[in-house]
Every structure is written in structure tokens, then in C-alpha cells.
């Protein structure tokens, strides 16, 4: 890029405008510079004060219950002597209250202990003892129950300390009994237990810092970059300078690249400042942070982090400029920014997930993958191939987002605010344009329903989450975009020979899908308990077989097909070729099965069903295939077949049969109508 080129000229203008805008400068640069040291200082101080308070606090304890005499006997041991007065170094202060529960609610007590003899415990209302697992080894033992108020830190600490103290007292009493019974060796010498943490202090601190570093950095980059990005396009539209710029000889790509570079420079500058901050304040020990942040940051590590975060910077800048491009005014851009900021922050939380490895499906999730990689780098556990893959995935996402921004500058509807032909005419043309947007919103709604509907009965849950949702959605789409239901849902009779292909193909695809699952185990190992738990959830006891078949095979077979091989395929038919359609519709179908381990297999099934629909020109074979697939899977689960034991020969045979099934359908094909012509250029 030569000096004076349009890209650098636009870049220079953006930076110059930023430097001269005090408010933007404050938000973009000054605030982030101050913020991290403040966070570190606050963290250190809060941790110190918290430790001090926990250390110095005396908690107010009451003992109650039908066998309080036994508990009161414990009291002296609990408080560490006969003196029950509050005093220095004492952890518990016995308080006499008539109504411990009310006192706990009112904050008069921090915690209270209930003591029960076995008989008294047995006499309690079963609802009150539900969930307390007492085995035969507890027979005849006294039962102690700690009651606390989890909304108060003091109460939580008191409960935790009381539990620890009770265990100690129990051990002391047991030892005392042993000694009195003539046990000659002091019990504590029978077997000493020691634990050694092999992680270095830096590794421990790196793991802690790594969990939050990406969130902090991306948050700061978004905060700083958003001010520049909002002005970069939305602000230009509002001022009228975008039209001026678009009439210069700079190309749209040069304009976007120049602006993106400026946003990235600010975002990267902030990231650099923060990494230097870390190095300066932590590495040189100028700040004494909390133990969670006390990591040694060498110059090499700092540089490595900068390189690691480069694609995150590019993607952050790309998303911001895309947001700005889609907004018609400054105000509208700010409106969009709030959900964008939250959306971008979510993947940075990935390192918080316990034991999440970069060598898992997370490697294909932009930003989340590099957030996990950053944690690994800070811990000193780097898996280079996975790290390289993560870097490339996020860089690829950044390139894609940038390309979308360039396209947005070609969109007259966005530049001038005039509706496009599709937006104006509405109907099927507009649906083709908006189909992916609608499915994105539908995915979010389905996700919320799936995990938030308070329905305990599996049958009702399936009926709502599958039967209702996946039928209502296509109906809404058909009505909103005035689609012809027969065309949108591919309600056509297939040629009779297709059904033979379905009969052969459904079991073959199921077995092939199991092979796909085994293959994905190499990349994304799934604990057997997780799969088992999922299966048990779907096969509750006491549900008749006919209901299971109806709810888990027939209903999804019909409802999900209406949505995916119906309106989704119809909406995308002119956007991709047959292979592209199979992949895209399959992937979207997969992502609607929200458990991560199910996505590859369901995406495979979705691609197969899309192929069947495209070849037969009808939705009915896919419905039958889908229902058969689910029914057979249910059958295998019911008879408890060990599919792993089947071996690869079964998979190879299934693949051959699947090929045969497709060949039969091909011979009896009725092509899906109104597809994208093979020689047509990609629009845009």
C-alpha cells in the first residue's frame, strides 16, 4: 500500500477525526487505559478486605432441634471452649433465640444448627427430608442440619465454616473414643494425608487471569472501537459525507478497508495498551493484584498475546463496521450496538467453562476459540495445531464480515434509505432475501423455549417444542410472505419408486450417522454419561410405545420437515446449488438440535433429507425417511444395542446401501422446481 493511496488516506482521516474529537478520544483511549489498572487495584483491595473480614468475623450461631441437648454438648467444642462470649479470635458466638428461622431471616443469626436423633428425623415431614441421602452406614447416628441464608455473604461463610468445624469436632471426638478404648497409637498418626499442587503459582494465576482476559480485552476493544465505527459509516450517512465519499474515485473496498484499519488500530491500540499495562503493573510488580491476577507477563508472552488477538481485533472491527453500515443514522447504530456488544462478549466467556479444551468443537467458534487459546497460552499449555486452526477460523470470520461490509456499501437501500424492489414488493422475493435472518431469529426463539419452558412431562415438552413450534413457524412464514403453501412446503406426490429408496435409505442413513458420530468422537469426545442421560430423558419410564413412536418419530418427521425441507429449502433454492443447499440446510437443521454432540449427526441427516427432497421434488419422502430414522433409533435404544460393537464393516455396508437408495431415488427423480440455474453467477 503506497503512501497517499485511498486506503491510507481514509485511514488517516479517521484517525485525525478521532484525535480531534475529545469525547470519542476519551471513550476510545483514555477510559480503557485507566480502567484495567482500576480493575486490578479494586480486585486486589476487595480480595484483601474480603479475606480480612472472613478472618476477623465472629458468626452468630444458634442450636436448636428436638435433640438440642446433644447439639449443645457440641457447642463447647464448636466455639473452642466453655466461654461462649463474643471475643477476639472466636469464630462462633452462641446466640439464644426463640425462633431461629425468623432470626435467620431477619439477620439476627448468621446460621443455626438443628440436631435430630434418628427417631426425631424419621418423624419429620417427608417433604422436609427429601433429597437428604442417608445410607445404612448412618443408621443410629445423630443427624445435624445447618440452616443458612444464601443471599448473605456472612451467612454463606458461616455455613461453610460451621460445616468444616463440625467435621473437625467429629474427628476429635472419634479420636478421643479410640484413645479411651485403648487405641495405643495417636489416631492422627495412623495415616497422614498430604496434598501437593503441582501447578506453579504462575500457572494457577495464568489460568485465573486467562478466564477473564479475553472478556476484558474484547469489552474494551468494543467500547473503544464502537465510537469510531459508529461515526465511520452511520455518522457519515447522517452528516451527508458518505455520499461525498462515494462519489470519489475510491472503490467501496478501499473505503471499507481504510475505515476498518482505523477501527482496528484503535481496538488494537487499546489491546496493546492493556497488555502493556499488564506487563507494566504486574510484571514489574508496581501493583499488588489479587492472587487471581498475579501472573508474570514476559515481553515474549505479551507479544504472543498480541499476535494471538489480531484476528479477534479484525473480527471485532469488522462486526462494528458492519453494524455501522446497516444503520441509517448514528442513533440507529447505537441502538444496534447494545445487542452486538453483548453478542460479541458471550464467546469470550468460553474459558470460564470448566475443563474446556481447545481440542474440541470450540476450535470452530470464532473469538471463543482464541479466548480459550489465550487461557492456554497464559497457563503455558499450548497445542500448536489447535491454536493455528483457531487463529485461522477467527481470521476467516473477520474476512467474511469485512466482505459483507463492502457489499453493504453497494446496497442502495442502505446508502439512500430507499426500499429495494424486494423490500417494496414483499412476498416470495423478499422471503428469499430474508430467509436466513428469519431462521436466525427462529433459532433464538426455539433455544429459549427449549430450555425455559416449565414443562416436566416429556410428552408435552416434545409436543410444544417440536410439534407446535415447527408447525407454527412455517405457517407464520407462509402467511407473512404470501407464499404458495404447495410450493413452499413442496407438497407434491413423488414417483412411486422413490418409496423403495426411502425404505432402504432410512436404516442405512441411521447406521451411517452412527459412523459419523464415531468419527466426530475423534474431534469432540462426548462423555458416555452425557449420551446416556440424553437417551434416558427421551425414554421415560411408563410411557407406552405408541406414544413414544408418535411423539419422537412421527411428529418430528412431519413438523421438522415442514420447517427445514419445506420453507427453509424453498427460501434458499435459488441461492445455492444442490450440494450447497444440502450442506447449508443440513447445518441449519443440525444447529437446531441444541446439544453440541448431536449437531454433526443431525446435520448429516439434514443434508441427506435435503438431498432426498431435491431429488424427489417432494417433502413426503423426507418426512417418511425422518420418521423411520427416529423410529429405528428409538427401537435400537429400547433393545439396548451396543452400536459401538457393530464395527466399521456395518458402517461401510450402510454407506453402500445409502448410495443404492440415492441411486433408486435418482432413477425416479422429479427435480425440485425453480432451482438456481447451474451456470448462474453468484449474485452480489
Amino acid at each position: 500500500m503506497r503512501p497517499g493511496s485511498p486506503v491510507l488516506t481514509v485511514f488517516g482521516l479517521e484517525i485525525r477525526s478521532l484525535i480531534r474529537d475529545v469525547r470519542t478520544l476519551l471513550m476510545s483511549v483514555v477510559l480503557p487505559v485507566i480502567l484495567l489498572p482500576l480493575v486490578l487495584l479494586a480486585s486486589a483491595r476487595m480480595e484483601g478486605r474480603q479475606a480480612e473480614r472472613v478472618e476477623s468475623r465472629t458468626y452468630r450461631l444458634a442450636i436448636t432441634g428436638p435433640d438440642s441437648a446433644f447439639a449443645t454438648g457440641l457447642a463447647a467444642d464448636l466455639v473452642g471452649g466453655a466461654d461462649l462470649e463474643e471475643g477476639a479470635g472466636r469464630r462462633f458466638w452462641m446466640v439464644d433465640v426463640a425462633e431461629p428461622r425468623l432470626a435467620l431471616d431477619d439477620g439476627v443469626l448468621d446460621v443455626y444448627l438443628e440436631a435430630f436423633s434418628p427417631d426425631a428425623w424419621g418423624a419429620l415431614d417427608p417433604a422436609d427430608t427429601a433429597g437428604v441421602g442417608l445410607g445404612p452406614e448412618h443408621e443410629g447416628a445423630m443427624i445435624l442440619r445447618i440452616r443458612y441464608h444464601s443471599s448473605r455473604t456472612g451467612s454463606r461463610n458461616a455455613a461453610s465454616m460451621l460445616q468444616e468445624r463440625l467435621v473437625e469436632v467429629r474427628a476429635e471426638r472419634r479420636d478421643s473414643i479410640l484413645v479411651h478404648a485403648g487405641f495405643t497409637v495417636p489416631p492422627q498418626l495412623v495415616g497422614a494425608v498430604d496434598t501437593v499442587n503441582v501447578a506453579s503459582a504462575d500457572e494457577v494465576a495464568g489460568a485465573r487471569l486467562g478466564r477473564f482476559l479475553s472478556l476484558i480485552l474484547v469489552g474494551l476493544m468494543l467500547l473503544g472501537g464502537s465510537a469510531v465505527a459508529t461515526d465511520a459509516l452511520a455518522g457519515e450517512k447522517e452528516r451527508g459525507t458518505l455520499l461525498t465519499l462515494l462519489t470519489t474515485s475510491a472503490t467501496r473496498t478501499e473505503i471499507i478497508t481504510g475505515k476498518l484499519l482505523a477501527i482496528m488500530a484503535v481496538a488494537l491500540g487499546i489491546a496493546l495498551i492493556q497488555v502493556l499495562n499488564l506487563w507494566f503493573f504486574l510484571g514489574l510488580g508496581l501493583i499488588e493484584p489479587g492472587s487471581g491476577f498475579a501472573v508474570t507477563v514476559s515481553p515474549a508472552l505479551a507479544l504472543g498475546l498480541v499476535v494471538l488477538y489480531l484476528p479477534v481485533v479484525a473480527l471485532t472491527g469488522g462486526v462494528l463496521i458492519l453494524t455501522s453500515a446497516y444503520a441509517r443514522s448514528y442513533k440507529e447504530a447505537q441502538l444496534y450496538l447494545t445487542p452486538v456488544l453483548f453478542g460479541m462478549a458471550i464467546p469470550t466467556l468460553a474459558p470460564i467453562m470448566p475443563d474446556l479444551s481447545l481440542q474440541s468443537a470450540i476450535v470452530v467458534v470464532p473469538i471463543a476459540n482464541l479466548a480459550v487459546a489465550a487461557r492456554d497460552v497464559l497457563v503455558g499449555q499450548v497445542h500448536l495445531p489447535a491454536l493455528a486452526a483457531a487463529w485461522l477460523v477467527t481470521a476467516g470470520a473477520a474476512a467474511w464480515v469485512t466482505d459483507r461490509s463492502v457489499r453493504a456499501l453497494h446496497d442502495e437501500e442502505l446508502i439512500t434509505g430507499d426500499p429495494s424492489r424486494e423490500s417494496f414488493l414483499g412476498g416470495p422475493d423478499l422471503f428469499r432475501k430474508r430467509v436466513l435472518r428469519w431462521f436466525l431469529v427462529f433459532w433464538a426463539v426455539a433455544l429459549l423455549l427449549q430450555f425455559n419452558l416449565p414443562i416436566r412431562d416429556v410428552r408435552l415438552a416434545v409436543l410444544v417444542n417440536v410439534g407446535l413450534v415447527f408447525v407454527v413457524f412455517p405457517l407464520i412464514v407462509i402467511r407473512r410472505f404470501q407464499l404458495d403453501p404447495r410450493k413452499a412446503l413442496a407438497l407434491r406426490a413423488p414417483r412411486p419408486g422413490v418409496w423403495l429408496g426411502v425404505l432402504i435409505g432410512a436404516p442405512a442413513a441411521l447406521l451411517t450417522g452412527l459412523g459419523v458420530f464415531e468419527l466426530t468422537q475423534y474431534v469432540l469426545p462426548v462423555p458416555a454419561e452425557m449420551v446416556e442421560g440424553f437417551g434416558q430423558g427421551l425414554l421415560p419410564e411408563g410411557v407406552p410405545a405408541w406414544q413414544l413412536i408418535l411423539l419422537l418419530a412421527i411428529v418430528p418427521g412431519i413438523a421438522e420437515e415442514l420447517t427445514f425441507r419445506g420453507v427453509l429449502l424453498h427460501g434458499l433454492r435459488r441461492r445455492f446449488g444442490p450440494l450447497g443447499l444440502a450442506i447449508v440446510v443440513g447445518l441449519i437443521f443440525g444447529f437446531f438440535h441444541f446439544q453440541l454432540f448431536r449437531i454433526p449427526v443431525t446435520a448429516f441427516l439434514g443434508a441427506v433429507l435435503t438431498g432426498v427432497t431435491l431429488l424427489s421434488g417432494s417433502i413426503f419422502p423426507a418426512m417418511a425417511w425422518h420418521a423411520l430414522n427416529n423410529g429405528l433409533a428409538l427401537f435400537l435404544a429400547t433393545i439396548d444395542v451396543d452400536v459401538e460393537a457393530l464395527g466399521w464393516w456395518w458402517t461401510a455396508g450402510a454407506v453402500l446401501l445409502l448410495g443404492l437408495a440415492f441411486a433408486i431415488i435418482w432413477w425416479n427423480r422429479t427435480p425440485y422446481p425453480d432451482m438456481k440455474p447451474a451456470n448462474r453467477e453468484r449474485p452480489g
Partner: protein, 267 residues
Amino acid sequence: MSDQPVRAEGLTKFFYDESRGEIRAVDGVDLGCSRGEILGLLGANGAGKTTTLRMLCTVLEPTAGQAWVMGHEVRAEPERVREKLGFYSASTALYPKITPRETLRFFARINRYPGARVEARVDDLIQRFGLADYADSRVEKLSTGMKQKVSIARTVVHDPPVLIFDEPTVGLDVLNAIELRDIIAGLRDHGKAILFSTHIMSEAEQLCDRIAIIHHGRILATGTLDELRDETGLHYLEQIFVHYAQTAPVAMADASRGGGRLAGGPE
């Protein structure tokens, strides 16, 4: 005709509007503008002037028809087209945080003006437009008249052979408007091909060498003022305009369904 710097044949643009349906904002416009000539595009608000000019400067893509700027077709070579023209309208604003000198440098460089000559060109324009006293103040602090001069200077900074002025005097006081018209006339005298849109009759009369009357997206007549007078037998341009507008085929109005303000421009 083919050596004209600006040429359009059958230029057409449809828009879509919720209340009025499909609007033929520009419907088969043919026009041409020669070197050292100001072609006035005269029409009421919503006639299609801005849309025509935006297609010529490649911001909007024609629905049909073709147009060339210095021999480059607007759809085939949009970057080359923009290199050869300067576009100015009342709605093209300036960057508030930079100075007039920086503004001119920015537009010279982004329009690929030879780097070695940028400073000399900027200094020359600052002197010529009387901007010396304000050259290093921020644009946001300048008066409307000064901003107008900076805007014109930035339009011509890369010395394009074609200039497009879309209702440039909108919002200006009389003195500033006169000064602006003088500047445009001077540019014509330097051999520029100038397209000048306006709905103000007196402005078209005083400034334009030829006038194209545009109504409901169609060119109804093109010629010098004298030619238009001869053709209609009317003396004043206002009378001539009303004559053409009232005798325009009814089908034309029907075709454009609506009229009034058109989407796509400040009209």
C-alpha cells in the same frame, strides 16, 4: 455527439414506495453535455434530476439504459467514471473535524491526484477561492458561505473534466448563491463539462448554455433558451417550463404514478 464528455441513452431508474408503488423516477433519459458547456437540468421537485445525476456519478445503478463519462460506462467502469468527475450537491457535506487545507488534501489524494502536485494544487485553490484566512481552521467553525467554497474547491481539487452540481444553491443566501454561480461559470470557461440541476428558473436562464426540461422522469425538451423560445413561442423560461409540463403526455404522468418528492434525493 460521441465525443461529448457526458452522454446518457435511455437512462432509467425505478424506485419502490409503500404508498405509491413502483415509481419510474427516471424514465428513458437521453442527454449529452459538451466541453465548456453548462447543461441545465430543469425540473420541479421530484422530477428525477437528483436520481439522474446520482446514476451518472455511479452512486445509484440504472435499472436500464446506459451512460458514459469521458467514454467510461457507469456500470462497467464506475471507478474510472468517478475519477473523471466532481460531484457536488447541497446534501454532500464536509468533515467537520479537519481544516479546509486537510479537506482539499484528502479529496485530492482519494481521487488519485498525482501526489507530488497535491500541495501546489491545494495552495492554488486556497488562494483562488479566498480561503487563505481560514485554511487552517476546522471546517466546523466556518460560516455556511465559507463551507460552500470549501465544498466547491474539494469538488474540483483533482481537476476533473466533468462537474456535476445538484441544486448547489439550495439553502444559500442571495450573495452566496451569486458567488457560487460565478464560480461555476468560471469553471465552464476553463473547459469543464458541467451538469447543473435546479428548479429555479432564473438560475437556469442566467447560467446554463443549454437546458433540458425534465418532468416525471422524462426529458421533455432540450435546447438553448432561444431554441426553446422559438419552439414554444414563449419568452420567459417559467412560461416555457409550464407549457411543456402541461402538454406532457398524460400516459407519462400515469406511468410515474405519483410524482411529488421522489425517493433517492433531497428534492
